[in-house]
Symmetry: C2
Subunit: 314 residues, 2 copies
C-alpha cells in the first residue's frame, strides 16, 4: 500500500484512484487497510446501477446520462464490468470505446473491471471500487454490468438506483431472462423503442410490472422509452433517477441501503477470515488425504466436514 | 427427513426422488444427513451440462439427445435451472414444455429448479439434485442452465462434459458473452445453423477456439453444427459426448473432476458451518448495534470485522 497516497486519492488524484482500484481488484495484501482508511470519506456519492442483456444499449444510455450530469457540473465515475477471458487476456473493448467521448474530460473517470475471479468476488471488488471513487469525491458513481447473472443482482445491491435497460424482443426465454431483472429494477428503460415490436414489448413488460407494483407500491416502477443513440428520452431517465433519489432520501431508503451494505460487508469479511483461519496445515492435510483416496473413500463430504469442525469452539 | 425412504430412492422410486430433491432445494434441516446417506450410492451417473444464452435451443437439443440415450436404454435425469421471480411465484414454463415428449417415459425424469436463493446456493442445490438422481440409478444426468452467469460456471464444474449451445448472431457484446462460455465448453454446438450468417459465426467462433486450443490441446474443443429442431447434427453431438467421456476416462480427468467436487463440497460445508457457529447472539448484537448507528459510525466494516474476530482461536 506504500505506493498509494490516501490524501492525494481523497483530493481526487486520478493516478492514485487508479492504483487503489487495481489494488482492490487484484485483492492485494493491505486492501482492507486501504478501504478502512478511506471509510470516513465515503457516503457522499450517489450510486447508480445500469444493467441489462448484451446489446441493449447500456453504454450508449450511460454515455448520454453522463453528458447530462456533466452539464450540471457533477463529476462521474463509471465502473464497467465486462466479461473477460483468461485466454484473450483481458476485458473486451466495447463499452470503453462507446463511452470514449468523455475520455478527455477530467470530470469523468471510466474504469473496466474484469469478470474473472471467484463467486461474489467481482461484485465485492466493484463495490469497493465504487467506495474509492466516492472517497475521491465523485458526485455520481455508475456501475454498468453486462448480463443477468448473480453479479448483476449483487451490483444492484451496491447501487442506490438501478436502471434496467431492455430492447424490444420476444420469445419465452427472453421473457424469462427479463424476469430475473424485474426484481432489481427501480427504473425500466425500453431502449431502441423506435424498433418494430416496441409497443408490444412495452405492453408485455407493463403487464408484468403491474403485478409487481401491486405488491410493492411505494415506488411504482415505470417503463421509459428511449432511443439512446438519438438522445431521445434520455432526459426523462435522468429526471426519473433524480426522483428516485428524492424518494429514497424521504422514505429512509437510502439509510437502509447504507445499513444493508455495511452489514453485508462485515458478514463477507468475517466469512473470508474465518475460512483463512480454519484451513491450517493440519486440516488442509486431512482434506488432501481424503481427496487422494477418492476412489475408495466411504466418507462423504458431509461426514468429513463434520469431523473437521467437531473439535472447534468459536 | 422422516418422509424420505432412502432405500426406495436408491431403487429409483420417483416419489422419493422428487421429495429428496425438494428437500435439498428448500435447504431443509437434515439435508446433509440425507446426502450423507446416499453418498455410497453415487458416482455412477455421467453428468452432462448443457448451457448457452436464452433462445439458443438448449431444450430442443437436450430433448433430441435424450431420445438417442433412451434408444440405448440409458435412463436420464434432467435438472433444468430456470430464472424465476418471487412475484410470479415460480419457474417459468418454457423448458419443461419443450421436453414434454418424454413426460410419459418412466426412464426420463425432468425437474426444474428455481434460480432463487443466495450466491452459489443454486449451483450447490443443482449438484446435490444430480447426486440424488445418480443415487437413484439414473445413467445420465443433464444439467440444463439458461444464461451465462456464475451459476452456469458453477454448474459446469458439476458436469463431466459441458456442451455450450450458441446460435449465429453478431455484435461485440454477444461476442463478449460468448467468451464467458468459452472457458467451460468441452463441446460447442452452433445450433440453428441453417440460418443466415451461420458460416460467418462458425469461422469467428473457430478463430477464438484456435487460440484456446493452442493453449490447452489435450482435448481440442470442436464446433458442431446442428439444426436441433430438425434433428440435424444431433447424433454427432451425442457421439462427441461419448468421445469426451472416453477421453476423460483415459486421461484421469474423470477422477480429477470427482476430486475437485469432493474438495469444493467440503470447503463449502465448512464455510457454511463456520458462519453459523460464528454469528451467535453476542456477535450479532454487536453488528446490529453498529448498523443502528450507521449515520454517525466511524468504525469501518473492516475495523468491526477485525474487532469481532480478534478474540477467536480456531
Amino acid at each position: 500500500m506504500a505506493h498509494i497516497d490516501i490524501q492525494a486519492l481523497v483530493r481526487g488524484d486520478i493516478r492514485n484512484v487508479s492504483r487503489a482500484i487495481s489494488f482492490v481488484e487484484n485483492n492485494r495484501n493491505g486492501k482492507d487497510d486501504l478501504l478502512d482508511n478511506i471509510f470516513p470519506e465515503i457516503g457522499k456519492a450517489y450510486r447508480i446501477g445500469v444493467t441489462g442483456p448484451p446489446g441493449a444499449g447500456k453504454s450508449t444510455l450511460a454515455d448520454k446520462l453522463i453528458s447530462l450530469m456533466r452539464a450540471r457540473a457533477n463529476t462521474v465515475g463509471v465502473i464497467s464490468i465486462d466479461p473477460t477471458s483468461p485466454f484473450t487476456g483481458g476485458a473486451l473493448l466495447g463499452d470503453r470505446i462507446r463511452m470514449n467521448q468523455h475520455s478527455g474530460d477530467p470530470g469523468v473517470y471510466i474504469r473496466s473491471m474484469a469478470s474473472r475471479g471467484s463467486m461474489g468476488g467481482l461484485a465485492v471488488s466493484a463495490q469497493e471500487a465504487g467506495d474509492i471513487l466516492d472517497a475521491a469525491g465523485m458526485d455520481i458513481v455508475i456501475f454498468e454490468t453486462v448480463g443477468v447473472g448473480q453479479v448483476e443482482l449483487d451490483v444492484a445491491e451496491a447501487a442506490d438506483s438501478t436502471v434496467v435497460v431492455l430492447v424490444p424482443e420476444s420469445g419465452d426465454e427472453v421473457q424469462a431472462m427479463k424476469s430475473g431483472l424485474m426484481e432489481i429494477a427501480d427504473i425500466f428503460v425500453l431502449n431502441k423503442s423506435d424498433r418494430e415490436g416496441s409497443e408490444r414489448a412495452f405492453v408485455e413488460l407493463r403487464n408484468i410490472l403491474d403485478l409487481k407494483n401491486t405488491r410493492n407500491s411505494d415506488w411504482p416502477v415505470e417503463i421509459l422509452k428511449t432511443a439512446a443513440v438519438d438522445n431521445e428520452g434520455v432526459h426523462t431517465v435522468y429526471d426519473k433517477i433524480q426522483e428516485h433519489y428524492q424518494f429514497l432520501e424521504d422514505s429512509g431508503g437510502l439509510r437502509k441501503k447504507r445499513q444493508r451494505r455495511y452489514e453485508k460487508r462485515v458478514e463477507g469479511l468475517i466469512r473470508q477470515r474465518l475460512n483463512t483461519m480454519f484451513w491450517n496445515t493440519r486440516r488442509t492435510a486431512k482434506l488432501t488425504d481424503a481427496i487422494n483416496r477418492i476412489d475408495t473413500i466411504n466418507k462423504s463430504p458431509y461426514s468429513l466436514a463434520q469431523e473437521l469442525i467437531r473439535d472447534l469452539a468459536i
